[in-house]
């Protein structure tokens, strides 16, 4: 529909410079420039390296997205940008660029939450989100169960990780196995060749008295490290594929079990999974089986929309335009530790000028 809001979204919270353009629930462009290769030898994302790459990539990525969408910048109804959470210096590049484009083009600016964007992106894949939406958000920085009665204004945390994020666990295990960074895709590949039942790794916080919706992945990490080191000390070859498959099975087992319980307890008939770890093939297949068994409708976007991108920011921005949310002010700050409960950042409400 031509009267749906046309919004450009900018995402620079970590190592991907993402610019997406949507019209309502329709994806028009998803341009991403990644600096991941520059971080690999450091074993993790280096904030300054990421920030420098964002500055270089920003304008070319915007131009690429506009070209891909076949729209003129002047036709946009708004500019949305990730205001947090994420790396402070990296966020600031995107926020500053968004302000300048919004101001120069005379368009409203929407500072939005990265985590809420990971949920809202599913509107591009499966249409309007149910209200409330139950979401399992799993990435390199976050692992949470969220209940969102309104994705633009009301997102509640049911539980979250008490130590490492799920994606972090994949990175650490990849390091133990000597598979490099980032860990998610490489563990997924190795696991396909291995036996998921070869080793029974611990399932954190799944005891009857443990909190139902919180996660813990430090235990499974340590168990993997012990197992691998013992083998190496004995001079026995480490069965990388079996370790990868068994580790992945333990993590996805806990994630899906708790997510389905949260749906049941809250009387919700569907489960949305978002964030970079939602690109994991075993998490997707296990969630599919278990949701089918539980009579739940599963909503997971295609893998490219699960990892960080600008389209998800545009999707949430478009929803805000559609709901007449007040735009952010020009003094909008980048907030590295923005809580998930704040989907929209209004700014300070007044400029100093």
């Amino acid at each position: 529909m031509a009267d749906e809001p046309l919004v450009l979204g900018i995402e620079t919270s970590c190592d991907e410079t993402g610019v997406g353009i949507v019209r309502g629930h329709t994806l028009l462009a998803d341009a991403v420039a990644s600096s991941v290769d520059e971080h690999a030898r450091f074993g993790g994302v280096v904030p300054e390296v990421a920030s420098r790459a964002h500055l270089e990539a920003m304008v070319p990525t915007i131009q690429r997205a506009l070209k891909e969408a076949g729209v003129a910048a002047g036709d946009l109804d708004g500019i949305a940008v990730t205001a947090g959470p994420g790396l402070a210096g990296a966020l600031l590049v995107g926020v500053s660029a968004a302000k300048a484009y919004a101001y120069a083009l005379g368009k409203p600016l929407y500072g939005v939450n990265h985590l809420a964007s990971h949920i809202c992106v599913d509107q591009l894949e499966h249409g309007a989100l149910p209200e409330p939406t139950m979401a399992l958000l799993v990435s390199g920085g976050h692992s949470s169960l969220l209940l969102a009665p309104d994705i633009t204004s009301d997102v509640r945390t049911l539980g979250s990780t008490i130590d490492d994020a799920a994606g972090e666990a994949f990175d650490k295990v990849a390091r133990v196995l000597g598979l490099g960074f980032p860990g998610g895709p490489v563990i997924d590949r190795w696991a396909k060749e291995g036996d998921p039942d070869a080793i029974r790794f611990p399932r954190g916080l799944t005891g009857s008295r443990d909190p139902h919706y919180d996660f813990s992945f430090s235990g499974v990490n340590t168990a993997v490290a012990r197992r691998v080191e013992e083998r190496r000390r004995e001079g026995v070859e480490v069965p990388i594929a079996d370790v990868a498959a068994s580790f992945q099975e333990a993590v996805t087992d806990v994630l899906t079990r708790k997510a389905i319980r949260a749906c049941r307890d809250n009387g919700v008939d569907h489960l949305m999974i978002g964030g970079g770890v939602a690109a994991n093939s075993r998490l997707r297949s296990m969630a599919e089986e278990r949701c089918a068994d539980a009579g739940l409708k599963l909503r997971v976007p295609r893998p490219k929309l699960c990892t960080d991108n600008g389209a998800m920011v545009a999707a949430l921005g478009a929803e805000m335009v559609a709901r007449n949310v007040t735009p952010s002010s020009l003094d909008l700050p980048a907030d590295a530790s923005l809580p998930v409960t704040e989907p929209h950042v209004p700014g300070h409400g007044h400029g100093h000028g």
Binding site: V49, H54, L92, V93, V95, S96, R226, P333, H352, G353
Partner: protein, 222 residues
Amino acid sequence: MLLLAFDTATPAVTAAVHDGTTVLAESTSIDARRHGELLMPAVDCVLREAGAELDAVTGIVVGVGPGPYTGLRVGLVTAAAFGDALGIPVHGICTLDGLAYASGIDGPFVVATDARRKEVYWAHYAGPRTRSSDPAVDRPGDIATQVAGLPAVGAGAALYPEVFTDIRAPADQSAGALAALAAAKLAEGEPFENEGGLPALPLYLRRPDAQVPAAYKAVLPK
């Protein structure tokens, strides 16, 4: 000619509008931690005060550093975005050159800004428009003989009075001065830092702080 100038490479968040002859409006606030929040309201403020429409601006002038990176990038990405959105050129000028121009000192002097970590960004000048050394980042003690006895401009110099003994004004960057320098350069066809149509690139002068991690740390006791 109507220039919109700003610089975020120092604790000064400064913006100005210049018509090729004179500064029509200028706003400067000193806050080393809030470049991202302060810049756009400052730009909005000077455009309103100058009574200028953004569409009438013919060029963006931006200080390209050297300066602390996080703040520096705010100005540079803002300039790049304005240039792209408005379809106008972005002129990059070394931040130290703006301070030198504002000082008006005839004869040899130095400009120094705070590089944090007990270092300064600095350069030698033969006159207000003549830089005679490449911008560098050093510990003041290590350049004491090179700057001995010379007049010194910039808040970085004032931090180390034992090295920079002849402190002169100004201490802080002024986008008005930066714009005036750009207007003079444009009038005379002098090149900018980003000559050749390239985007204005930051003068970082340091590599990112990043260590390749040490060998894998075992979980099991030895």
